[in-house]
């Protein structure tokens, strides 16, 4: 693999807008990333587009808005891990030498307000399961086995929402306290409303370059060191739910390929669709030993200014979650951190960054990606 660089980034604001056509929202991100990369869009060779529910050939429908040349487009679906998956495809294309310039677009338009849900219906849904419930079951077991508490979870939600209060692009820009999180409406014990993300509308894009194209870029660019990908494929046998195995496998693959250890990472954007997710991902990303995720909370290690800031942008909880876009906006946020240009919660001297995304049906099918970037 040769070096792969991030030449340009852009994101729209995220919101619960259901009126603006998807193509218009996404075109803004595409144009913005190309402008930020300072390249001629006619030199783009391949585009990878992540979304979950936007219909057939969604990427090409977006590119019509921009009168794009008829280049290769691949539409990628991996639920909430789609953005990371599309990025991985582009990383492999550029890193292999097949492609010198690729664009990654992640996008989603909100179909209906409410809690996050997926389309596929399963037996569990008929019994009365909801997507937060699947996280709640994992969290309840973690609490029972390891003594993590509702306050630990609420701290994570309060941290992220308060971080997001400084993020002008976030759907929710309201700080809150642990008490307010605990007092919000119960959804699926222990998850209260403020611990659950809201699906949203938004788009984000990045331009990756390698080889000769990279030499022509005048500005400094961080590198994509590794993209790990794994799946959840569970057909009914007992398994340990106190860790998300796809995230752990993707993380190990990424750390190993990048030659980076967890303690080398300066800043993280991870998948806090529900507060429980962030807690368990501390262990999945090997930021601490198994069972000890709550210690990072109690030491405030993942707060801005802590040993390893997590979700300084506000995460999914504050940004909102346009499913296909989340994995890409994480890269936008982290590149701003690596450039030193973040307007919200800049981590001083950030040189190694990690993005993690995860998604699925909640009933045995899903994916997780881990991406490592560095200056």
């Amino acid at each position: 693999m040769r070096d792969v660089f991030v030449a340009g980034i852009a994101t729209t604001s995220f919101s619960r807008d259901m009126e603006t056509p998807l193509e218009r929202v996404a075109a803004e991100a595409v144009a913005g990333a190309i402008r930020d990369a300072d390249i001629d869009h006619r030199h783009l060779q391949e585009i990878y587009v992540s979304h979950m529910s936007q219909g057939e050939v969604a990427g090409q429908r977006v590119l019509r808005e921009l009168g794009f040349p008829e280049i290769a487009v691949t539409n990628v679906e991996n639920a909430c891990a789609g953005g990371g998956s599309a990025l991985r495809q582009a990383w492999m294309a550029v890193g292999s030498g097949m492609v010198d310039i690729a664009l990654v677009l992640g996008m989603e338009k909100l179909a209906a307000p409410g809690l996050l849900s997926v389309a596929v219906r399963s037996y569990e849904d008929f019994v009365g399961q909801i997507l937060p419930g699947s996280y709640a079951l994992a969290g309840a077991r973690h609490m029972a086995e390891y003594g993590s508490t509702e306050r630990d979870l609420a701290w994570i939600a309060a941290k992220n929402r308060t971080n997001g209060a400084k993020n002008a692009r976030a759907t929710f820009q309201k700080a809150c306290t642990v008490e307010e999180v605990l007092a919000s409406r119960m959804i699926a014990g222990p998850l209260t409303l403020l611990q659950c993300c809201s699906p949203a509308t938004g788009a984000a894009a990045v331009v990756l370059v390698g080889g000769d194209a990279a030499k022509k870029i005048a500005h400094r660019m961080p590198r994509v060191l590794a993209c790990g990908l794994s799946s959840k494929i569970q057909w009914g046998q007992p398994e340990d739910l106190t860790i998300f195995h796809p995230t752990l496998r993707a993380a190990k693959a990424a750390y190993e390929f990048a030659g980076v250890a967890p303690e080398d990472v300066d800043v993280i954007e991870l998948h806090d669709a529900f507060s429980i997710g962030e807690l368990l991902h501390y262990e999945g990303l090997m930021l601490c030993k198994r069972g000890e995720a709550a210690s990072l909370v109690r030491q405030q290690a993942t707060a801005v200014g802590g040993k390893i800031p997590v979700n300084p942008s506000g995460g999914l909880l504050a940004r909102g979650h346009p499913v296909g876009a989340t994995g890409v906006v994480q890269i936008v946020e982290l590149v701003e951190q690596l450039r030193g240009t973040s307007r919200h919660n800049q981590v001083r001297g950030a040189n190694v960054a990690l993005a993690q995304a995860q998604g699925g049906t909640g009933a045995g099918a899903g994916a997780a990606t881990v991406t490592i970037l560095s200056n």
């Binding site: 008929f126 009365g128 029972a144």
Partner: protein, 148 residues
């Protein structure tokens, strides 16, 4: 998902998934599974293809254990449309390495312990949208008397 109904005292004994649950006219229920003749792997619900050894049509129908170990349980307060809340759901691990997902009936305020033994009964699931109650597999602590 096919639903077959036989009424019982106003509560429909609906086998919400005959592949996984069989309900008798008196409201008793059993969890149905399949065991592969070739490799011995058991599943909840008969499978067209054994997921372990890939043989097609290789399963014999079995009745799964009606007691098992509680893996995790939570209370749902915001449900899919029409379901009356709150209610509990959980994962129960049965012998033969089968994990099932079911409603839980739990004494109010009683804590639970990982691995605690629980027992199956059929209990009515209630709706707020006019639908008749539906009997669904439900697990409760083995030491509790079952309330019909």
């Amino acid at each position: 998902m096919s639903v077959s109904n036989e009424s019982k005292d106003g509560a429909q004994s609906a086998s919400i998934d005959p592949n996984r649950i069989q309900v008798t006219a008196d409201g008793q229920g059993r969890l149905v599974g399949g065991r592969c003749r070739e490799c011995g792997t058991a599943t909840w619900g008969m499978r067209h293809r054994c997921p372990a050894c890939w043989k097609i049509g290789s399963q014999d129908e079995i009745t799964l254990s009606s007691t098992g170990a509680l893996y995790s349980m939570v209370e749902i307060h915001r449900a899919p449309p029409g379901y009356r809340t709150p209610y509990r759901i959980g994962y129960v691990d049965l012998p033969d390495r089968v994990r099932v997902f079911a409603r839980m009936q739990w004494p109010s305020g009683r804590p639970w312990k990982p691995g605690q033994q629980v027992r199956l009964s059929m209990q009515p699931v209630l709706f707020d949208d006019g639908r008749e109650p539906l009997l669904m597999p439900t697990f409760s602590p083995v030491e509790e008397p079952i309330h019909a």
